[in-house]
Symmetry: C2
Subunit: 121 residues, 2 copies
């Protein structure tokens, strides 16, 4: 069968622990952008960091405290944000945890390379 030029993404099948405690991430990487679905346990913190990639975030479930340039805002399910490249930002999930979709351009994979394990294809 000819290959169809569209990637269908089932996040659950891509989920891996993130380098940060209490956070898992599932990644899809394209040519111009990448997308990541994060699941944060209650109170899971994301320390301040920055990257040259522009970052769009959409809260899918729960709520997230977002800190940029010393100002903290609480974002709830349905709200979204846009952080320009190079701007330091930090975050923390609130009591109910948070499911967060982010897109980066240019593409960014926030996870370390998966370790190949024998037997899986």
């Amino acid at each position: 069968m000819a290959e169809v030029p569209v990637e269908i993404i089932d996040w659950a099948r891509r989920e891996r622990p993130a380098p940060l405690a209490g956070i898992t991430a599932a990644v899809a990487v394209g040519a111009q952008l990448s997308a990541v679905r994060y699941t944060l346990d209650a109170d899971a913190p994301v320390p301040e960091h920055s990257h040259p990639n522009e970052e769009f975030g959409q809260i899918l479930r729960g709520s997230l405290e977002l800190r940029v340039a010393g100002r903290t805002r609480v974002l709830r399910a349905g709200e979204a944000f846009l952080v320009p490249g190079g701007v330091p930002h930090a975050a923390r999930a609130l009591d109910e945890g948070c499911e967060l979709l982010e897109c980066y351009a240019p593409p960014r994979d926030p996870l370390p390379p998966a370790t190949p394990s024998g037997g899986s294809s």
Copy 2:
């Protein structure tokens, strides 16, 4: 107060009718990517079209029939897809309608320019 370099997005305040019947769209445009939240009525069709921008889509609610290269798939809430730039694609909301988040890179605003109306700022 100094301007904080993050854009907080309340989609409901940005919603406008799209050029296609039965569809509204709310747009956020960045420097490297743009994001659009579409709301499609039940059975609302998106005719086949293409654009050079890579397109990521996340089904937020309901379900969407996506057609690429002659193959049709039904995507449900929680699923996502990635269409490379330049690939023709079409879609249709199913019976319950669909709320769909898309990100484009480079940025793409799928709406005609807003008509300035007196009195709003």
